[in-house]
Symmetry: C2
């Protein structure tokens, strides 16, 4: 059976009711599967409680030493273990992992980056980038063969002792591509919608060519663009397919499949 | 080769220099090995920063819901992943685990306990107890056979979705007994000392019978008693041997072996 890789975002993880439902539903999915989760809202909340000031630039959290401690505590600690314990309770033999664990994902620290304004250079700190080549396919396959479900957060390492804060969507994409799996990006909507106010207006398939037009004519909202781009990259990098769908896994909606071309 | 189980306490883990040295030395130990670590000092510090009030009764942290989040973040998150990344950097293929991960250790929630005063009953909250029967020997053995080194913290689960705060010494003892390993309890001294001010006054072996006398005549200091009792229990429960020693693994001192009887 093909491997299924699920990505679930902070909005689902950080609402206890939706997390409980997701874990119950995810646990009952048959066949080899992997879960990648976020947790950014809770990280920002804890940062504020500790008197830190979360800074995001172009959607990425600037990660100094203190921020790295908090995101590692929240993603690798609370979120990852809470989810894993819930899955175990529903009969899914889950194992919560960060990239350093059995060297499952390595990341390279991001060099200071020139922003889109063409003027400002930003040092993101302990932020890393991952790709499908960074994924330890051998170990993940060993776990899947043992009937174990890896649960990954977006804390990875550089192999030289440094933990790095990475992006959960990119981690999910890299893992799905490396495992030649199907990627399911799960979130609070039913898929990519023609009309954000109409939950039934799901676009069943988006092809790369159409996507360019949809971006220009505004059919697709701002927030969906990086998700679709991430799915396109996932398929190009070797995944079987990539689908944007509801985090309610028992929903009748199949979501939106993102494809390269019509053949 | 026999399995070696190392326990390292908070004093070593929370001093960056001693942690770096320990990880470098631990990484170079040959043969199958497991590490169990603490992290209580950092947990108390973060609790205070978050405006919580750490409460310990008879050495155990009373763990309400908010405390459980903090200890899970600190032990399973920061400490566990930081140590694992450092070991990876030194060529040791470590995997950081909490009890929920692949169901590696289950714990049972502690019932409210009558204190030694015989009057007060205390509810420790989300505190659990573990034993050698709670250890998933099959999975730990699979990891060791793959050349992977498990790094365990003292956050475990009840199998019903609840994480539980447990005691790292008891976890180490349970794992060593279940794996029929040698337990090394590593700390800042060279072993059990006759004279706390003389680092060379190491008692090479303590037998259970002698221990009772040493307790009565005050040869052994208050703080060492639970460590020795933990080692005695470890050997009784099936470990090959149990040794209290320096966390400087390159030290010439062999530490103190704790034995049941002279045969």
């Amino acid at each position: 059976m093909g491997i299924k890789v699920y990505k679930v975002g902070g909005n689902v993880v950080e609402n206890e009711d939706s997390l409980l439902r997701f874990c119950r539903q995810f646990a009952s999915i048959e066949g080899p599967k992997v879960l990648i989760h976020g947790g950014g809202v809770m990280a920002s909340a804890i940062q504020k409680e500790l008197g830190q000031h979360p800074i995001k630039i172009e959607g990425r959290r600037v990660t100094d030493e203190e921020t790295l401690k908090v995101v590692t505590m929240v993603y690798s600690g609370w979120c990852n273990k809470h989810i894993t314990a819930l899955l175990q309770a529903h009969g899914c033999n889950a194992i919560g992992l960060s990239g350093c664990d059995a060297n499952v994902i390595t990341a390279s620290r991001r060099a200071p980056k020139l922003l889109m304004d063409g003027i400002t250079t930003v040092d993101y700190g302990f932020v890393g980038d991952v790709s499908s080549a960074s994924v330890n396919v051998e170990f993940l396959t060993e776990l899947l063969d043992l009937g174990i479900t890896p649960v990954l957060c977006a804390i990875n390492h550089d192999g030289k002792g440094q933990l790095l804060n990475t992006n959960a969507d990119t981690v999910a994409s890299s893992v799905a591509a490396a495992l030649k799996a199907t990627l399911y990006c799960c979130f609070e909507l039913n898929g990519v919608l023609k009309d954000i106010n109409d939950p039934d207006s799901i676009i069943p398939t988006i092809y790369e060519d159409d996507f360019q037009n949809m971006k220009s004519d505004g059919t697709i909202s701002e927030g969906m663009i990086p998700k679709i781009e991430n799915c396109l990259k996932t398929v190009k990098d070797g995944a079987v397919s990539a689908i944007i769908r509801s985090a309610d896994l028992e929903s009748d909606c199949n979501g939106t499949e993102i494809k390269i071309c019509k053949n």
